[in-house]
């Protein structure tokens, strides 16, 4: 295992590997192990590149080394009443990597991991404003910076986000931040079917009340369905919007209000982590992105699956019998399906990532060649 302590050391590991055509397997805290195809290669751990480089609360910006534990970042931001806008979810449990696996910020960026607030404040890629990385030739490169408006040259910041370490090894990342809301509340409805739930969520998201989370659990702990809408912000504002939203949702049932900050925050953390499917052992887990009103169609096409909806219905998490070819069942519905968790054989057979359009796949392949000419970085991770 290589454990470089700084960016130069990362570059030298990669240059040596490129010269020897030896493939490398890049890892952070291993909390997302199993997401993507298995990679053969000498492991390189980035946990040695740790620590906050620059934090300016007055400018809402953070620069941090890629191997820094997410927990450490959250704590530093909380001290200033700030947060990462995209609510990075913890997937260690659902991926079966143990609750103690420590997510690093580099892993969050490499997987573009975004939680329920994605529909309101954007994905990880939208908050990411700068990257430093080492490409497959061992060049140390940067793009973007530490300011939130930057159109100087191509936006490789977004490109690097979600590439699962296949285009370069991230060494430092910068984010724009948001103030942590001083108040949070969940307005919920019970007993709605999927169709009604998505209609209610669409109504809420189309309202002027700044809904920052919209999820639907078809079978909650009491056996009934639960549809949740989150409001965040200044205290008076949240209570005003909650009252208005409840009035608007009245036709869908009897909206309930939960204002216990701890409970609300725990519930949405659990939505991001897809805890609703955590007990589905032995089944494959899929993460499917469609336009919200297609959510119920996805569920209908996957009869027998345990599903749960985030992002107003647009993100469908589904647990299905191992080996089910979900993509063929969803033919005709625009979007993409990721085989989030399955054994190696089924990942190999079905493919983890949704196949790209052939023209785009060709360009992606050429791009990989430009960034990693010896094909040594996480070879085969994305299929």
């Amino acid at each position: 295992m290589y454990e470089p302590r700084d960016e130069d050391a990362v570059a030298s590991v990669i240059r040596d590997a490129a010269n020897a055509s030896k493939s490398l397997s890049i890892q952070g805290g291993a909390s997302r192990r199993g997401l993507g195809h298995d990679v053969a290669g000498a492991p390189v751990s980035l946990t040695g590149l740790s620590g906050i480089t620059l934090y300016e609360p007055g400018a809402l910006t953070l620069v941090v080394r890629a191997g820094t534990p997410l927990k450490e970042i959250k704590a530093a931001l909380a001290e200033e009443g700030q947060m990462l806008p995209f609510e990075p979810p913890c997937w260690a449990a659902i991926l079966g990597n143990g609750a103690h696996a420590e997510s690093t910020i580099g892993g969050v960026v490499a997987t573009n991991a975004s939680g329920p607030r994605r529909i309101h404040s954007g994905a990880c890629r939208d908050s990411l404003i700068g990257v430093r990385f080492v490409d497959g030739a061992g060049r140390i490169l940067k793009n973007g910076g530490r300011v939130m408006k930057n159109v100087t040259g191509y936006d490789l910041v977004k490109l690097m986000c979600g590439t699962h370490g296949t285009l370069g090894v991230l060494t430092e990342v910068s984010f724009k931040l948001l103030p942590k809301p001083e108040s949070q509340a969940t307005v919920s409805l019970t007993g709605l079917d999927n169709q009604q739930a998505v209609a209610a969520m669409s109504a809420a998201l189309g309202s002027p009340y700044n809904v920052s989370g919209a999820a639907h659990v078809p079978s909650a702990s009491d056996g009934q369905s639960r549809t949740c809408l989150r409001l965040e912000g200044l205290a008076q504002s949240v209570s005003y919007r909650a009252a208005e939203l409840m009035r608007q949702l009245d036709p869908f049932g009897s909206p309930q209000l939960d204002t216990d900050v701890d409970a609300v925050s725990r519930e949405w953390q659990s939505m991001g982590a897809a805890d609703a499917l955590a007990t589905e052992s032995g089944r494959d887990i899929w993460r499917i992105s469609v336009k919200p009103t297609d959510g119920p169609r996805v569920a209908a096409a996957l009869e027998g699956a345990t599903v749960f909806f985030d992002w107003g219905g647009g993100l469908v998490w589904a647990a299905v019998d191992a080996g089910t070819d979900v993509r063929s069942r969803l033919a005709g519905i625009d979007g993409h399906a990721t085989l989030f968790k399955a054994d190696t054989d089924n990942r190999q057979r079905l493919g983890v990532f949704h196949p790209e359009d052939p023209a785009i796949a060709r360009y992606s392949q050429r791009l990989k060649q430009e960034f990693d000419p010896s094909n040594i970085l996480n070879r085969g991770r994305m299929g």
Partner: protein
């Protein structure tokens, strides 16, 4: 400012190339008379002009593809153009280039309120996207100052921002999908009404690529429900430092206004003389706007005013009516026009970390004295996006050159304090040769390698974004190819 020498071989084949265009486009969509190509000789960076060899105005994605296929085969450079409002020279042609204008592609293709998106052709103007949904109380958030005229195609090319991006983000954060034609004439779809991409985030790199990677003909854009109301407050301070400190404190306090605009004295005076907005005579003026219901507006404003008062403002004026709000914004929104009344100017758009605001303003003042040209500052303070306006006299020989030299120094200063050359206008030709101040050769090379993938012959808007010296080997390889092709064509003839 230097542009590549136009290829005589291409210009010599002009009529053969036009004949091919006329096989795929109606005659009125192919413009080649010198009197008419003049219209396309520049964009809003009007100091630089050069009429193109021809301009074409296709009416469909298929026509765009047909034109690009021809240009690809003929080795003709193509400069895509939206409404021509680029302040960076993004749509400046060369004499051997074809301007591909998307102005005829202006339709709304689909509106979906349940899923909160609109799909439009990209020649549509920014403001008319909102215009298509505002009767139902929705809007499209990015609002560049030129929104009345600028096209979505240009917004995507430059990743345009606006005054309200502190809350709503810039174009890339509101763009869900595109239909794009590559230089080879291949039509590809990226993204759509759903979120995120299955593989690499091509959409993210297309947005802001200044028309160098493809021609975007259709876009799926996120639309949002309009807030119940909005209200600005006007805060004046006796120094730029105090105003800067107030901005940082507001941001830090956890209130996130939709906009924080900053004007310095030279700008305030010009705006006041032009728009009579009733601005106080102070050193620095902030316009802070918040949104929401009446109660929410009150709650946010009271916190902002409390913070502002700690810094002892010379003036603090809360709008109490729609008319007063409009007046407060009128001054700010007419800033560029007001400046245009008193002088020629160039407008920069470097971004700096908000914390470096006082230092940057002080050093801009020093540079202004050193170069002997006035600089007025108006900018989006919440996100650090500066807009220094350098005043000069276009009729005075040498003044433009001094102005550009001062501009370059100011932009280098922005980079030095931790910022960047361009926050929302793009690089174009204007800042092309300054790119080495922000990026190493390797940093630039990896970006050019992305263009190598999508446009290996470097035919799309080739002389932009990268310093000419950096892109020379790539561009010249194409010129050699073209020459070889033209030789073999004449040999065959």
């Amino acid at each position: 400012m230097e542009m590549p020498v136009p290829s005589g071989q291409i210009i010599a084949r002009k009529s053969a190339i036009l004949d091919r265009f006329l096989k795929v486009l109606p005659a009125e969509a192919v413009i080649s008379e010198p009197a008419e190509t003049r219209v396309y000789e520049c964009d809003a960076l009007s100091a630089y002009r050069c009429p193109p060899m021809a301009a074409v105005l296709p009416s469909s994605t298929e026509e765009v593809a047909a034109i690009l296929r021809i240009c690809h085969e003929e080795g003709v450079p193509v400069v895509p153009r939206g409404s021509g409002t680029s302040l960076a020279g993004g749509a400046l042609p060369t004499a051997d280039a074809v301007i591909l204008g998307v102005s005829k592609l202006a339709d709304v293709l689909e509106t979906d309120y349940d899923n909160r998106y609109i799909r439009v052709q990209t020649g549509r103007t920014n403001l008319s996207v909102t215009g298509a949904v505002e009767q139902d109380d929705f809007f499209y958030a990015p609002d560049p100052s030129s929104q009345l005229a600028c096209a979505i195609a240009g917004n995507i090319a430059m990743n345009s921002g606006g005054a309200h991006c502190l809350k709503y983000g810039v174009t890339t954060n509101n763009l869900l999908g595109v239909t794009m034609v590559t230089m080879a004439g291949e039509i590809i779809e990226l993204g759509g009404a759903h979120l995120d991409a299955p593989g690499y985030d091509w959409l993210g790199v297309i947005c802001g690529s200044e028309g160098q990677l493809g021609v975007v003909t259709e876009a799926t854009l996120r639309i949002l429900r309009k807030p119940e109301g909005a209200r600005p407050v006007l805060i004046g301070y006796d120094s730029n430092e105090t105003a800067g400190a107030c901005v940082a404190d507001i941001i830090r306090a956890g209130v996130l206004p939709v906009a924080i605009e900053f004007m310095d004295r030279p700008c305030i005076e010009a705006c006041e003389a032009f728009a009579h907005a009733g601005y106080p005579q102070v050193e620095a003026l902030l316009i802070v706007e918040v949104e929401g219901s009446e109660a929410e507006i009150q709650e946010q404003l009271s916190r902002i005013i409390e913070i502002a008062n700690k810094h002892q403002p010379a003036e603090l004026r809360e709008s109490s009516s729609e008319e007063e709000s409009a007046l407060i914004w009128k001054g700010r929104k007419s800033a560029f026009g007001a400046m245009g009344q008193i002088s020629d100017y160039i407008c920069l758009d470097g971004t700096i970390p908000v914390s470096a605001l006082p230092e940057t303003l002080r050093r801009i003042g020093e540079l202004s004295n050193q170069y002997g040209l006035k600089v007025a500052n108006v900018f989006h303070a919440g996100d650090g996006n500066m807009h220094p306006l350098i005043l000069f006299d276009a009729n005075k020989p040498g003044d433009l050159e001094i102005c550009e030299a001062l501009g370059a120094e100011i932009l280098k200063l922005c980079v030095e304090v931790g910022g960047c050359l361009s926050g929302e206008h793009g690089v174009g030709v204007e800042k092309r040769d300054l790119m080495t101040a922000q990026y190493t050769d390797d940093d630039l090379d990896i970006q050019m390698q992305v263009k190598d993938v999508l446009d290996p012959q470097w035919l799309l808007n080739p002389a932009k974004v990268f310093p000419l010296a950096s892109s020379a080997s790539r561009r010249e390889a194409t010129t050699r190819d073209t020459a070889a092709r033209s030789d073999s064509a004449s040999a065959a003839a």
